[in-house]
């Protein structure tokens, strides 16, 4: 089995090498065959140069840089990455070190043992899950939003807006082709559609380190409105 990690990046020149190092450390130790498909949206900070250096260090087979000219959105980044991915399994994760690669072997094991189509990381449920770096306001918003989503959608997944997931390749292809929302709602829509299409979803507790290096990890009013709009759309259409 070959695992393609699709990494959409924008201005991740500092985090990318660290993430690649950690991926190599943990997947190497677990003997997991992998490649990292980097979909960079024309970062001005030198992210692509960093990726090229990493390809020299870790091999061009492992570090696959497939950039795009400018910011074109997450859904299309996944599609673009899928076009160039060679694996039969795909891992999606954030490039800013909030997701730790040490959970990937656990997701792989979970998928095998439960024969799941998808394994999602959960920040909210399971032994050892957690989030670092959220203040009270953020926690209240997160719990409130999750409560509402669970109530309205009954999705059978504890972390609906999470973006650290392992998919069978054809499952991801089908989902990305049929989902149309943006942002948080895109991640929710994928899980809801997955359930509707009859795919099985397993969960692995993960820790999420919100590093707030950009100074502003806050959730603004407009993002909350987008979330509610998306939630109600899913409520009314699925």
């Amino acid at each position: 089995a070959m695992y393609s990690i699709i990494l959409p990046t924008y201005n991740e020149r500092d985090n990318l090498p660290l993430l690649v190092w950690m991926i190599d450390k943990y997947l190497g130790a677990a003997n997991i065959q992998y490649e990292i498909v980097i979909v960079d949206d024309g970062s001005p900070d030198g992210t692509q140069e960093a990726a090229k250096q990493l390809a020299k260090i870790y091999s061009e087979d492992r570090i696959v840089l497939r950039p795009r000219p400018r910011k074109l959105g997450l859904g299309t980044a996944y599609l673009h990455g899928l076009k160039h991915a060679k694996g039969d399994h795909v891992i999606l994760m954030d490039a800013d070190l909030s997701h730790h690669p040490k959970f990937i072997p656990q997701m792989v094991a979970k998928m095998r043992s439960g024969s799941f189509d998808i394994v999602t990381g959960s920040r909210y449920e399971g032994e050892g899950c957690g989030v670092y770096g959220w203040d009270l306001r953020r926690k209240v918003i997160s719990r409130g939003a999750n409560f509402l989503a669970q109530l309205l959608l009954r999705p059978g997944v504890s972390d609906l807006t999470g973006s650290f997931r392992l998919y069978k390749r054809e499952v991801l292809q089908r989902l990305v082709d049929s989902c149309t929302s943006k942002g948080y709602v895109f991640q929710m829509e994928m899980m809801v559609r997955a359930r509707h299409l009859g795919y099985s979803i397993g969960e692995v507790p993960i820790t999420f380190v919100d590093r707030m290096f950009y100074g502003d990890s806050k959730l603004g009013g407009s993002e909350i409105v987008q979330y509610l709009k998306g939630l109600l759309t899913l409520f009314a259409t699925t």
Binding site: P17, W21, L97, W134, V140, L153, F235
Partner: protein, 105 residues
């Protein structure tokens, strides 16, 4: 057969609840009610809504209080970042100095 959307399910459920309530209100259901029971029945939607709102708020408060902070995850990450930087530098990776955008080795 097409499955009901969640909205349809809620409308259906809500419709049943209202039908039941209206039946009770118009004495269509043969059941003996104490004065207290009568009062509750008259205001059932309000009581049900209020109870639900209260339960929801308490659930959210509980979950916020029980939130798993994980400081060890952060410290582990900080340590690994240092390890990664050192190892990458050894392997020839040239980091960019954020302060002057000069390459440092």
């Amino acid at each position: 057969p097409m499955a009901l959307t969640k909205l349809m399910q809620w409308l259906l459920g809500g419709g049943c609840f209202i039908a039941l309530w209206l039946a009770l209100m118009h004495d269509l259901i043969p059941v003996e009610l104490t004065p207290m029971g009568r009062h509750v029945t008259n205001w059932l939607p309000l009581y049900a809504g209020g109870l639900f709102g209260l339960a929801s708020a308490l659930t959210i408060v509980y979950r916020v209080l029980m939130f798993n902070d994980c400081p060890e995850a952060h410290s582990e990450l900080v340590r690994e970042i240092d390890e990664a930087k050192a190892d990458l530098a050894k392997r020839g990776f040239k980091f960019v100095d954020p302060k002057g955008d000069k390459k440092t080795s």
